[in-house]
Amino acid sequence: AQSVAQPEDQVNVAEGNPLTVKCTYSVSGNPYLFWYVQYPNRGLQFLLKYITGDNLVKGSYGFEAEFNKSQTSFHLKKPSALVSDSALYFCAVREQGSGGYNKLIFGAGTRLAVHP
């Protein structure tokens, strides 16, 4: 079955330190992977995506993600965390076989808390 796992419910990091939010996936074939961020009482905002090419993908707000095919992972990273990065982060993978429908499978989400 196709799935996305975010193994940590919450990640705590001090401001200025690097952060990592973990994501692993299970799909057949080549995955299309996404990260979204949700600020309180808001919808999801797109951060970045991996479709093909360079394994290190750069996105909005200084975030980047590393695709690792052998470990089936797509971890979100930032070199220096800001308090304003505190939010709920979702990893997603495009459902294989969904054709032109572009259906996404989402992880359960990881809450990032950045402390001053």
Partner: protein, 114 residues
């Protein structure tokens, strides 16, 4: 920029009421989606639509229906609201693949059923 709007940010309804949640997108996207978001469960797909008057069930369609009479508008209907439908509802749209693959989300409607 793509804009997806939802008719209400907050909604309070009573058990048994019929509830309509409206979503409008302005980018001429073929695909539109309705999700519910619950803590610890992430986003779960209720229904999606890939064209006017076309719809497909998602993972949790029970208790819901949808309507897509115009390309830009996708409505979620709770035929008889129940307390277990208290949740955050998110609408999204996307073009068909290939092309941009991400979905674009509205701000969400937080529905409380009493």
């Amino acid at each position: 920029d793509v804009k997806v709007t939802q008719s209400s940010r907050y909604l309070v309804k009573r058990t048994g009421e019929k509830v309509f949640l409206e979503c409008v997108q302005d980018m001429d996207h073929e695909n539109m989606f309705w999700y519910r978001q619950d803590p610890g469960l992430g986003l779960r797909l209720i229904y999606f639509s890939y064209d006017v008057k076309m719809k497909e069930k998602g993972d949790i369609p029970e208790g819901y229906s949808v309507s897509r009479e115009k390309k830009e508008r996708f409505s979620l209907i709770l035929e008889s609201a129940s307390t277990n439908q208290t949740s955050m509802y998110l609408c999204a749209s996307s073009p068909p693949t290939p092309g941009n693959n991400e979905q674009f989300f509205g701000p969400g409607t937080r529905l409380t059923v009493l």
